[in-house]
């Protein structure tokens, strides 16, 4: 059973690195960076090795709490292993990039140990999350990645914005985590099992507990994957170092939510309103976030909103049961969005601002970054031959095929908006007049290499669709509906589908219109009134939540006035409580 050991290794290797990192740090502070890169490389190797060890069925069951019957196990099917491979490989690339990107951290008074330790812990927890069969173990790793996210968003803690953003991320995702917790206990109540694979095979019939569990998982996904209405934490999370934004908030952690929906799809698809609810939320969020990205002046926040939008597309695919399309878009998006964030990191590091209106004209000064950013953008927009094109069109085709025509229409409109905001980002940063006085140039090799590797992956990852889909078809139970899809079939579906023709055609028209009216559009989006203002303020959802949390603190203060400090009142409280208890007991007796 060698495969199980590789899986455990992929989880424990980075965690061991995190625990041992203080030793490297104590020897020489800067050494911790290469120490972390080494462990990340080992993890990457192990997670890529897992690709050859995909199998169905549950491995390495461990009876964790025999007194109650909670056991944990590993599941090495393709659904999880692909995400683990993404986490491991992008984790390594980000770690390599970080060596140069974070080199000034110590001088500014931030500990590199904290950065690399938490990042390693994160990678291990993420891989553990997707390789776990037991839903309790999923929850444990789910919370751990959430903690790492909070700690890394707050990394530059001397900036109060960062601390606030980290706390906000933690609290908002915790709200979603309540959903996962309820799902665990509800599933236990209805099936007395914590093993996801076993529950899928059991195929329980629809019941109240199952419905509660299903919507609990949906709530968890809304929190973790920043879907409406819990989307507010992700744009603020951009206070994190850009490497963390690339790794956690684009390529891996935010995918955990939609991944869980996909994994539990066979379980909850029998609940009448669940698939529809998932598709509606995903589709709405996709459109909603895309509109906000149009007016966002901050480069990273715009990419964050774009991520929220793309996650909405993935969520819709999962809700429609299109598992192959879902997973394919997840992997494609991780690659090109990770690429875009790392490019953004290069830009921001050079111009010392995140405001796109202060950038511009960088194309000639950083040629490699320019090209790689274009590649990422074209993938995001969904231009043919880039991986984003194939995966997005597959998603659209699957959702349409599952009968969600309205959703398909909305997603097509979203793809228009995606084209517009992506092009706007590129234009503002790389074209036009150079608005910054600072000198900019291409980055050193430690930062260039990940960009180049990811660009190549963006160009060619789709070619492996046949192996990709066969892995899913072979290792997942049939209830997932995963089927083999060859390259030829993909090309046929995508290029011959009338839907695709319509969407590409309309895309070209929209692009041409946007180009023609670009000046007026740019001016409109820059304004601070009307629709543009609503977009820039995120439709004031942030303010809504701020008011709500102030309200909670207000309630706390009001309740605290019962603590008068006067013993007479306190004793009166005892008497009052005593009367209430006697009343409840008497009523209980009458109703017995």
């Amino acid at each position: 059973m060698f495969a199980g050991e590789i899986g455990v290794g992929a989880i424990l290797c980075p965690i061991a690195g995190a625990i041992l990192a203080p030793l490297a740090y104590a020897v020489r502070r800067k050494m911790v960076a290469w120490f972390a890169v080494f462990f990340a490389l080992m993890t990457c190797t192990l997670s890529l090795l897992l690709l050859t060890n995909i199998q169905s069925g549950v491995l390495l069951t461990y009876n964790w709490i025999p007194s109650i019957g909670f056991s944990i196990a590993l599941n090495l099917d393709a659904l999880g292993v692909y995400v683990a491979a993404v986490a491991g490989s992008i984790g390594f690339l980000v770690m390599l990039y970080s060596v140069r990107y974070m080199e000034h951290a110590e001088i500014e008074g931030y500990s590199l140990l904290r950065y690399y330790g938490l990042t390693l812990l994160f990678v291990g927890s993420m891989i553990g999350l997707v390789l776990s069969d037991s839903i309790i173990l999923v929850y444990i790793f789910w919370e751990l990645v959430g903690f790492c996210s909070y700690a890394l968003i707050s990394y530059y803690y001397k900036d109060p914005k960062a601390l606030r953003a980290g706390t906000k991320a933690f609290v908002v995702t915790r709200i979603g985590d309540v959903g996962l917790f309820i799902a665990i206990v509800a599933l236990w109540g209805s099936t007395h099992s914590t093993s996801l694979a076993a529950i899928v095979n059991l195929a329980p019939a629809d019941s109240t507990l199952l419905t509660i569990a299903g919507f609990g998982v949906l709530l968890a996904a809304i929190g973790k994957s920043a879907q409406f209405p819990l989307h507010v934490w992700l744009p603020d999370a951009m206070e994190a170092p850009t490497t963390i934004s690339a790794l956690i908030h684009a390529a891996t952690m935010v995918n955990a939510g939609v991944y869980l929906v996909a994994r539990t799809y066979p379980i909850f698809s029998v609940v009448p309103s669940w698939p529809m609810a998932v598709v509606i939320i995903g589709t709405f969020t996709a459109l909603f976030a895309a509109t906000m990205a149009l007016a966002e002046p901050d480069l990273k926040r715009a990419l964050a909103l774009s991520t929220i939008s793309q996650l909405g597309i993935m969520l819709s695919a999962a809700g429609a049961g299109a598992i192959v399309a879902f997973e394919f878009h997840l992997v494609s998006h991780a690659i090109f969005k990770g690429l875009l964030f790392l490019c953004a990191g290069v830009v921001i590091r050079s111009v010392h601002t995140r405001n796109m209106y202060e950038m511009g004209g960088l194309a000639n000064h950083m040629k490699i970054t320019n090209v790689t950013f274009i590649i990422g953008t074209l993938a995001l927009v969904g231009i043919p031959i880039f991986n984003g094109f194939w995966s997005k069109e597959l998603v659209l085709d699957s959702i349409n095929g599952a009968g969600y025509l309205g959703a398909t229409g909305v997603l097509i409109i979203t793809s228009f908006l995606t084209a517009v905001y992506s092009w706007r980002m590129y234009y503002l940063v790389f074209l036009g007049k150079k608005r910054t006085p600072l000198e900019v140039r291409d980055p050193p090799y430690e930062m260039r290499t990940p960009l180049i590797i990811l660009s190549i992956a963006t160009l060619v990852s789709w070619i492996f669709i046949s192996q990709f889909s066969s892995g899913l078809a072979y290792s997942l139970p049939s209830s997932y509906g995963a089927e083999l899809l060859t390259v030829r079939e993909t090309i046929e579906i995508v290029l011959l589908s009338p839907l695709v023709v319509v969407s590409i055609g309309s895309l070209c028209i929209i692009a041409w219109l946007a180009f023609v009216f670009k000046d007026r559009m740019m001016q409109f989006l820059k304004e601070d009134r009307g629709l543009a203002k609503a977009l820039k303020h995120g439709y004031w959802f942030d303010d809504l939540y701020r008011v709500a949390s102030r309200g909670l603190f207000f309630v706390g203060r009001e309740v605290s006035y019962t603590q008068t400090g006067d013993v007479n009142y306190n004793l009166a409280g005892i008497v009052l409580g005593g009367i209430v208890i006697l009343l409840i007991l008497i009523l209980g007796n009458m109703g017995w």
Partner: protein, 504 residues
């Protein structure tokens, strides 16, 4: 004094009482470094008690009945799994607090009285578990309580501990008297106070009288013991007492004393609950929910670290109480998992909250303040406080893989299995967990991730190894109990099964 049975049952209490005497006397004999002499003597006594209990663990878990009776059955003690659980947690915490307080209390006068009182309090806790009738339990309950009055008010030269101690004393006395009313009601009608005989005693009287006796007696005892358990609205003494007491005592109070009050409550109402006249479980669940909300909501606005932790204890007692309510049953049969959850949280909370209070004490030792504004960044300057405090606060907020999460998992899983409205209470608990994140995480941000250093932090003195060592030990236990719960199950599961059998 005819003694029937194995006297080994009494050893832990006798050791602790002897230890109290010795640690007081030795300090007067040696006359130098009273804190080291007394503290070490007290620590040694606790270790001996722990050793005796551990040596009996296997036999008790296997179901062997270890009991002793004095005065021809007038007073009976039995070391059942629940008593073993309570005693082990209590003595372990006592041991850690003794070591910690050696340096923490080094500037106090009369420190030998501190350790004597501490051991007396521990003896009271052990006695609550061992007692086999309500009145004896009440006696040890009072021993624990009176010792804790003096300990809360120990720094008698400051007004705050004295006020807190006085309020605590008054409220506790009122509670004790009310409990005594309840006990006498039961005695009047049942003719006996022994836990295993009350049921038969009550069945012999007229049916109408049974209902009244149970409701009145049970209700009064819930109120009386509920004051000590810090159930809302009987909790108002707790924020002052736990804040003003020396930090080792705060750890004991939040960690085991209020939980001992809960065990006393559960033991007292058990003979009444099995007669199935009314739903004690539902009553406890309702009050648990109120406690959770009040504790968490008021904690949000606190600007004093120890006061925040005190309100958090009120909320955590709500979670524990809910677990016990699930075990007893809400309008139907209970589930053993509820007792497991409640007991496991008692175990875990002793170390999580105890550890947090010890960290607060270390901060007081280093910079002399409990105020959040003044302690900004102290965790960064002193990572030996910062890292453990982060672990404790995250554990208390229910983050895996620490013990808080595991306990809440057990309690909520029990809530789904329990007949009736269990799921509603589970949702209430989870909402409260999210609310609690709203004060735990900002406290971590203030202590560790603060840009500015508080005004007093620059002159911080370093924390002694004895204090750091105990804090690190608590951190390790918090992590181990969460990652490998089977270790805690060794004492929690037999106690839970024992309770479940009693309540069925």
């Amino acid at each position: 004094m005819a003694l029937v049975g194995s006297i080994t049952v009494l050893y832990p209490i006798l050791i602790l009482l002897l230890g109290a005497l010795l640690s007081y006397a030795l300090a007067h004999v040696v006359k130098r470094s009273a804190n080291y002499v007394s503290g070490t003597a007290a620590a040694v006594a606790s270790v001996c008690a722990i050793y005796v209990l551990l040596s009996l663990l296997q036999r008790v878990t296997n179901g062997e009945v270890l009991s002793v009776s004095l005065f021809s059955g007038g007073i009976q003690f039995a070391l059942n799994p629940l008593a073993l659980f309570l005693s082990l947690v209590g003595t372990s915490l006592t041991f850690i607090v003794c070591i910690y307080s050696i340096r923490y209390m080094e500037d106090a006068t009369g420190v030998e009285k501190f350790y004597a009182l501490l051991l007396l309090m521990a003896a009271g806790i052990v006695g609550i578990g061992l007692a086999q009738d309500i009145f004896d339990m009440y006696v040890f309950f009072e021993l624990m309580t009176v010792a804790s009055f003096a300990l809360v008010a120990f720094e008698k030269q400051r007004w705050e501990p004295v006020e807190a101690g006085t309020k605590y004393g008054v409220m506790s006395a009122v509670g004790s008297v009310i409990a005594l009313f309840g006990i006498s009601t039961i005695f009047l009608y049942a003719g006996t106070l022994q836990f295993d005989r009350i049921g038969t005693g009550l069945s012999a009287i007229a049916p109408e009288a049974i209902t009244t006796t149970i409701i009145v007696g049970g209700g009064l005892m819930i109120v009386g013991f509920g004051v000590k358990t810090a159930m809302v609205p009987f909790h108002t003494w707790l924020p002052d007492a736990h804040s003003a007491a020396p930090s080792g005592i705060s750890a004991m109070l939040s960690g085991i004393v209020i939980q001992a009050g809960l065990v006393a409550l559960i033991k007292a109402i058990q003979p009444l609950a099995v007669l199935e006249v009314t739903s004690f479980g539902l009553t406890l669940a309702l009050f648990a929910s109120v406690s959770m909300f009040v504790g968490n909501l008021i904690a949000l606005k606190q600007r004093d670290l120890k006061r925040m932790l005190a309100y958090s204890s009120i909320a955590q007692m709500g979670y524990i109480l809910l677990g016990f309510a699930f075990g007893i049953g809400i309008g139907g049969k209970g589930v053993a998992l509820g007792f497991i959850g409640g007991l496991y949280l008692i175990l875990g909370h002793a170390f999580m909250k105890g550890g947090a209070f010890l960290c607060a004490g270390a901060i007081i030792y280093a910079i002399g303040t409990r105020d959040f504004e003044e302690m900004k960044g102290v965790g960064r300057l002193l990572p030996s406080i910062g890292v453990p405090y982060t672990v404790f606060a995250l554990a208390l907020s229910g983050l895996p893989p620490m013990v808080g999460f595991v306990s809440e998992l057990f309690i909520c899983t029990a809530g789904v299995d329990v007949t009736g409205w269990g799921l509603v209470f589970v949702v209430i608990l989870l909402i409260n967990v999210v609310i609690s994140v709203g004060y735990y995480v900002p406290s971590i941000n203030t202590i560790v991730f603060s840009k500015e250093m508080g005004t007093k932090v620059h002159d911080a003195r370093s924390v002694p190894p004895l204090m750091v060592g105990t804090i690190v030990l608590m951190t390790a236990i918090t992590l181990v109990l969460g990652i490998y719960p089977q270790i805690g199950m060794v004492i929690a599961k037999p106690a839970a099964d024992y309770l479940f059998r009693l309540f069925s």
